[in-house]
């Protein structure tokens, strides 16, 4: 009996150690990146052509996503899903979230293009871009990258970019990496939980 208990305890301890080792809180749908990724920091240009940095949106939960406005698939889908997830939050909570859409295609995405693009998804979506050096800095900071394909006859080219959705707390601390496989209610649940924790 005692031995049975001991082995069960050992199993539980092992499981707990395994979970702790993965650094993953099973209650989140996304991937816990606390301590793995650095705090939110960048110098970019906003939709008005003015310099923007992380302090501008301090106090909000920040959702960071990299893309480009000519993106045929993943960007519109992701932003649409984020917009739908925000729609599922109560009004007061929704207001405490900002989605930062960083275009890694500054050649085609100027302030006007970005403003037109993000307006479609709602007032809490902010378009940002920057020089190649500024973009290299923020992408390297979050261990992501981007690259350009060869232009076709019309000059159209595709851009490879991160599909990760990074979430930062009000103080800029890295919290979650939302998976592309998460459903809209699961994204909303993660955001709601984070907002409740950081009130």
């Amino acid at each position: 009996m005692i031995r049975h208990h001991a082995s069960r305890f050992a199993l539980a301890a092992l499981l707990a150690a395994g979970l702790a080792a993965c650094g993953n809180d099973p209650a989140w749908h996304g991937h816990d990146i606390r301590g793995v990724m650095p705090d939110l920091a960048f110098t970019l240009t906003d939709e008005n052509g003015e310099t923007a940095n992380a302090a501008d949106t301090a106090g909000h939960v920040r959702v960071l996503f990299f893309g480009y406005t000519h993106c045929p698939d993943i960007c519109p889908v992701t932003l649409g899903r984020l917009s739908a997830a925000l729609g599922e939050l109560p009004e007061a909570q929704r207001d405490r979230v900002r989605v930062l859409f960083v275009s890694v295609d500054p050649e085609r995405d100027g302030p006007e293009e970005l403003a037109a693009y993000t307006d479609y998804y709602g007032p809490r979506f902010i378009g940002l871009t920057g020089t190649r050096d500024q973009l290299d800095e923020i992408t390297k900071r979050y261990r992501v990258t981007y690259g350009y394909g060869e232009p076709d006859a019309d000059g159209f080219y595709t851009v490879s970019h991160s599909s990760g959705i990074f979430v930062f707390g009000p103080g800029g601390e890295a919290r979650l990496l939302i998976n592309q496989s998460q459903s809209v209610p699961e994204i909303a649940a993660d955001l709601e939980r984070l907002l409740a924790r950081t009130e």
Binding site: V36, V144, T145, S162
Partner: protein, 274 residues
């Protein structure tokens, strides 16, 4: 050009370690002045250069953001670089190029019971083989791979563990001394057996990746790729690199071991006929 040689994420202790190894080796070559050191010197320098280039040049950037480049990186760190370094049997040259107090300290450290026992444990044929193939497999578990590519610390633990295990394994495999010279100098036949036993699991792993109809490693989509390439093509290339060159290294090592065996045989004959 210069920017291609600069490290993507500089690890200064690692750069210092490579610089020290290079300095000691070159000093040893200069002190010994033996023409027959030259072929092994080429192997050593090529191996050291490959390992350095895989970790501390722009190549590391591509390895972080392309699965097949990552597989080439591990091929260089775990198979090719350590293979060449071990083949060059550099201990005598390195010792000749190391200042005497350091050399004595190194010898004392190597002779201390924990190091000796630990080394002898790791250099058991079955354990060395399991570690060699187990480590490749471990870092390719999709969830482990995900965390390793995302977390900077884990990323370096992954790469350094591959490099250290590669050196340990090929050091054990390509020991040129006659079997029995030291407790870890095993018979050539036994070593060939281990090499061949390692081929099927590496082939299976490579085939599983190359032939998978869906992407197994999401992290390259999450982090973005260095240039637009179909995720499946990236994965198939990576699978082939895990599969074919990795298994071929066992054949190359077998040839090297056979050459050792012939040399031992000749030396024995020379000794017995006065």
């Amino acid at each position: 050009m210069l920017s291609q040689l600069a490290p993507w994420e500089p690890l200064w202790p690692l750069i210092a370690l490579f610089a020290l190894a290079l300095a000691a080796y070159l000093a040893g070559i200069a002190r010994r002045r033996r023409a027959r050191d030259i072929p092994s010197a080429l192997a050593f320098l090529l191996g050291l250069g490959l390992m350095y280039a895989a970790m501390q040049t722009r190549f590391d950037y591509y390895a972080q953001f392309m699965f097949f480049m990552h597989r080439i990186q591990h091929l260089a760190l775990h198979h090719l670089g350590p293979f060449l370094i071990a083949l060059s049997a550099p201990s005598a040259v390195l010792a000749a190029g190391t200042p005497r107090p350091l050399r004595t300290a190194g010898r004392r450290l190597a002779a201390s019971p924990p190091v000796r026992i630990g080394y002898r444990f790791l250099q058991q044929p079955v354990i060395a083989g399991l570690l060699f193939v187990g480590l490749i497999g471990f870092w390719l578990i999709p969830s482990v791979h995900f965390d390793a590519m995302l977390d900077a610390r884990l990323y370096w633990i992954m790469n350094l563990s591959m490099a250290v295990d590669g050196l340990l394994f090929w050091w054990f495999m390509l020991d040129p001394r006659p079997p029995g010279t030291t407790p870890v100098t095993r018979g050539v036949g036994l070593r060939i057996l281990v090499l061949w036993a390692l081929m099927p699991p590496q082939i299976a792993l490579g085939a599983w990746i190359a032939l998978s109809p869906e992407t197994l490693f999401d992290v390259y989509a999450v982090c973005g790729r260095a240039w637009p390439i179909s995720p499946l093509l990236d994965q198939q290339l990576g699978g082939l690199i895990t599969w074919i060159p990795a298994a071929m290294m066992s054949l190359l090592a077998t040839l090297a071991l056979l050459a050792f065996a012939f040399r031992h045989e000749r030396e024995r004959n020379r000794e017995s006929t006065p």
